[in-house]
């Protein structure tokens, strides 16, 4: 069993929601990333989404665009991410790690080489933003062979028919994009999210996790009422940006904001 499935099975048994933070690897500099990951776990992260910096992050708003730029200034590439995950695994063999990013850096080193190296480093899942299931014929089986989960997005605009296809291909968890827009855009509407999640329950047993527009304990709790997990990215990356000149303060900042969300989620009645 993959670490992601194990983690969600535990959470389900406890009636708790998953808290899934995202940070861009190498932001503000590569030497801090592993420390941030441990801090996120200490503050209650169940799964970590580690962003692969890309020069053209088309689905991301300015906050994550700038995070990519800061990381790319240090020349961060996938081989460095694998090193970071390997180092993280020396102290933490439990927390699942999902690499999130765009297809081009992966294609450049080759799908098979990527999957082998990612699995060897201790990665558990891969979310490729610009690769819908229709384009995953080749990549999906390669990931599977290495025991890596293919995680897909579902959007408010996804038709029932497409949602069924996505559910059939998806592994680990489904990432429901709460907003029409880029990352970090606006505040989500919890009622709207609930309305979209309901039909997905009929299509899949995968945990439904919601991202885009969650920025604090209150919005996390709102979404936690209807979702199996909440994903938070730009709110964390914003803190990193604000303290980019004082990186030693960042881990504490991340723990504070994530801890607030953890508390808010754990205060909800059991699922």
């Amino acid at each position: 069993m993959n670490r992601i499935d194990e983690r969600f099975a535990e959470l389900k048994a406890q009636g708790r929601r998953a808290l899934i933070p995202y940070i861009t690897a190498g932001d503000p500099a590569p030497r801090y990333t592993v420390g941030f990951m441990h801090a996120l776990v200490e503050a209650g992260a169940d799964v970590i989404e580690l962003g692969v910096p890309f020069s053209d992050p088309m689905a991301d708003g300015p906050v994550i665009q700038k995070a990519c730029e800061r990381a790319l200034k240090h020349g961060v590439r996938l081989t460095h991410l694998f090193e970071m995950v390997r180092e993280f695994r020396q102290r933490d063999d439990q927390t699942p790690i999902v690499l999130m990013g765009y297809l081009n850096p992966i294609e450049r080193i080759g799908l098979e080489a990527f999957a082998e190296q990612a699995a060897a480093a201790g990665v558990d899942g891969v979310l490729t933003v610009d690769m819908p299931p229709e384009e995953a014929d080749e990549f999906g089986p390669i990931l599977k062979q290495q025991g890596l989960a293919s995680i897909f997005l579902v959007a408010p605009t996804t038709s029932q028919e497409r949602a069924a296809t996505i559910c059939a291909h998806g592994e680990g968890y489904l990432y429901y994009v709460a907003l029409k827009g880029v990352t970090g855009a606006a505040t989500l509407n919890a009622a709207d999210v609930a309305e979209h999640l309901a039909p997905l329950r009929g299509l899949t047993d995968l945990p439904l996790c919601v991202g885009f527009g969650i920025r604090d304990g209150a919005s996390a709790a709102e979404v936690g009422k209807v979702a199996d997990g909440v994903i938070v990215g730009s709110a964390l990356v914003n803190r990193i940006a604000e303290h980019a000149e004082r990186p030693e303060a960042i881990a504490g900042e991340l723990k504070a904001i994530l801890g607030e969300m953890r508390q808010a989620l754990d205060a909800l009645p059991a699922h």
């Binding site: 890309f54 020069s55 053209d56 992050p57 088309m58 689905a59 991301d60 708003g61 300015p62 665009q65 790319l72 020349g75 961060v76 590439r77 996938l78 765009y102 297809l103 081009n104 850096p105 992966i106 294609e107 450049r108 080193i109 933003v129 610009d130 690769m131 819908p132 229709e134 384009e135 897909f152 997005l153 579902v154 959007a155 408010p156 605009t157 996804t158 038709s159 497409r162 996505i166 994009v177 029409k180 827009g181 880029v182 855009a185």
Partner: protein
Amino acid sequence: MSKFSDLTRLPDARGHFGPYGGRFVSETLSFALDDLEKTYMRLREDPGFQAEFDYDLAHYVGRPSPLYHAERWSKQLGGAQIWLKREDLNHTGAHKVNNTIGQALLAKMSGKPRVIAETGAGQHGVATATVAARLGLKCEVYMGAEDVQRQKLNVYRMRLLGANVIAVESGTRTLKDAMNEALRDWVTNVDDTFYIIGTVAGPHPYPMLVRDFNAVVGREARRQSLEEFGKLPDALIACVGGGSNAMGLFYPFVEDDDVAMYGVEAGGDGVETGRHAAPLASNAPRGVLHGNRTYLMSDEGGQVADTHSISAGLDYPGVGPEHALWKDVGRVQYVAANDDAVLEAFRELTRVEGIMPALESAHALAHAKVLAPTLRPDQNIVVNLSGRGDKDIMTVAKIDGLEF
């Protein structure tokens, strides 16, 4: 029987041209692309839609564009006869309007009140702003901040036409970044916005529909060649950035095995210097950007490379997926013309024929200068003069040390 008949049956149902093309977008856009594909596949067979498109091309754009015999220049080069397909004479001054007329009709049919576009040199932005003005649609054009600087005239033209031009400050501040930002806008406003992509790239069905709307260029050129010199041309030449004007000229000749085709990319300072925008001619690795798989200039980490070209319209690290396939199967030869050769061709055509070409189109002319002397005077080359050079006067003046 042509060796290349299979090529005319592409893309496949999922928008692939062999290993290229496809639909690599975030999930939010999938339904809009499905929708667009369905609408287009229906309208493409609809005689009413085609008639409206043809009417607009005739009466608004001014088609057919002439096929002009550049007699004096041909003589000077001392080889094949050079014929210029005069897309520069279209309304708004380039081939780009063929596509925006077609997509604006699609926007009108879809009932969306707002259109967006990306632009490099500004020609596609102007062509989009023009059709938006005519149809009363709200129009916003994304343009890299660097291109806003080097194409001030077109920026002002778009504003006069009522479009809002948004300078994009992210990344390399050129065409690719404008396209990123347009995609971000579309994902946010997908309910009321139609995205008019300006080249044969982007997610399926864009490469197909932009090709189809521009193919009028090649159909006319084919007919005009038979009328003017009684046979098909020996060679076609067109510049390639994303590749829409080349696609438009080449596509109706794909099965004519004896017609050689040359796509000319931006060689910048020279392909060997790395400072260029020639993914095909430099054999860039395969990659995925802006919704399609193609030849893509990127570094070893898969980060998209900076490009360089004297012409903003060709300053793009990728290329339309159908061109990528045509390179692999050997249907078209892709070469590069360097900035200095391009400038020389620009000046030469202006002085010898009294026609000032766009710097983009001057890439095709630069290759005509190389190819023509290798052919006989009874052979014919058709060069796509895809746009006029008025917008580039400031760029050339600056090189001449003049500021206005």
